[in-house]
Amino acid sequence: MRGLPPVLITAIVLVAGFALCAVQFPNIASTRVVGNLLTDNAFLGIVATGMTFVIISGGIDLSVGSVIGFTTVFVALAIERWGMPPLVAFVAILALSAAFGAAMGAVIHVFDLPPFIVTLAGMFLARGAGFLLSTESVPITAPVYSTVSDFALRMPGGGRLTSVAIIMLVIVIGGALLLQLTRFGANVYALGGSRATAGLMGVAVGKMTIKIYMLSSLLAGIAGIVFSFYTSAGYSLSAVGVELDTIAAVVIGGTLLTGGQGSVIGTFLGVLIQGLIQTYINFDGTLSSWWTKIATGVLLFAFIALQQGLVAFARRPRTKSLGAAT
């Protein structure tokens, strides 16, 4: 009896939850609802993919929500006020957010500071910079926005797989491959297991730290662009508190917050579970939206307690485990 891997448990919770919802509201089990679920949570799925890398490496990134907010304002202003072509604006903001992440990673590594507090400063910085650009919501009217927003693949049953959802799926799959199949991914796990050991085994700890935070901020930038597609506007107060939803999704997806274990697919399932709770509350109509927070909190507790149990199970003395096996 080795116990189920956490990802499988997340998957079972998702399927069971979906089945329960479908029993109560048969309409939930349609490709329309699933399509909307993917579209509404596209930006969350993208940031959460980056956060998974950070958390597996033993760190945390509190700045992602602010980076999304900053990105939406920057993109809106660049296109509408400064007359940049959208593509140039996208490249500029992605370069900017990647540099921002790299800077945070460098500070964390060079000065040996806790990621929690460094990314907290990053959160203030990005949100403040967004405020400085504009405190008002700036609508985006560029034609490319309506083209991209209107594009969708038809799914059987009338559902629409929007371009935003497709971008998210591509990033999730790419992230999963990057984490599982490449040397970079293996190094991320190694860092989370033990920084000192990873360093002694020849992992360039500094470069990896910088790259990991760069990846997280870059994905937050992409999520910001996706968010601006979703809302067709830029607003410096958008995506406040998204860092918490993201961390929650990663933890529910079975990634250990102490680092060293986890998967992008699990995170994706965690995002879907949060989306499902939201969808259920929308369908029910009588429940208030704050139940989402309580339900997410309860799920968080359940998953962390479960992981704690699994870790304790794995660490118990050998003799005892032999006894249990026989």
């Binding site: 500070v107 000065f111 500071l113 405020f131 917050l257 704050w290 909190g297």
Partner: protein, 330 residues
Amino acid sequence: MTALLPRRGLAQILALIVILAVDRVVSPQFFDLRLQDGRLFGSLIDVLNRGTPVALLSLGMVLVIATRGIDLSVGAVMAICGAIAASLADSHSLPVVLAAALGAGLVCGLWNGFLVAVLGMQPIVATLILMVAGRGIAQLITEGRIVTFSSPDLVWLGNGSVLGLPVPVVIALGMLILTGAVVRGSALGLLIEATGGNARASELSGVGTRAMILSVYVWCGVCAALAGVIAAADIMGADANNAGLWLELDAILAVVIGGTSLFGGRFSLVLAVLGALIIQTMNTGILLSGYPPEFNLLVKAVVVLAVLLLQSPKLSGFAGVAARLRRTKA
């Protein structure tokens, strides 16, 4: 004075003086105080008054951080306790209201402490649960509305004055003295620091580390509850969505500015409160200067970075950087 303010507090005191001086430049009447209706008014009093919630939070937070923990849930706990106080205020007497609100804070702290001390969860994760769920619970209590009240007793807690000072300031001062007397007047503070320094070694040498950890989270919950009640009393209402929003970050910031290491093992109550005052003096200064309040976050970010770099274990002056650069190149 030297007993209260250790030598390592010099940087914080200097920082406060510098910021006060800057405030004096942007607003010439910054130091003006006047007595009206038996109460002092002026920017300085305003700084103290507005800084009270964060100062109270940092009193609890500093003990939690000293045990190598962190409490992300204090903002949500503020919202819960403010909501409880506001909904009971008009139908019950002040002692009942206070007991209910502080009791709720105590329960929240017990929950956090239980997760960390007994289940052995990482503090960030354990308190994240209440941070996410707590605001939902607060909204459950207020049923999603902004609950207002008119009970003069509770309003007095937020807006009254004692000996010319606003009541919140007096409460915060009282809590500082009480906490200081309990943890520094006994060996408790030392045991808390020992727990943070090396939990296992302390456990082996007979420190009840579990009890220590549990009690600091409980104290943090009670401080947050008090801050929540004061915040509610101040605006004569409870807003579950916005009460104490992001104040956990300010409280952590105050503790860090106060020179308490996030790696645990040592702490200073006075300096943490001083940190809270530094943050509030900056906020007030930016407001008075006429700059848009949007600058607030940027300035805060720069200050955090500066404090972090000064405290960095790898950096003792410029020589540290140079040595480090040479080493990485080699």
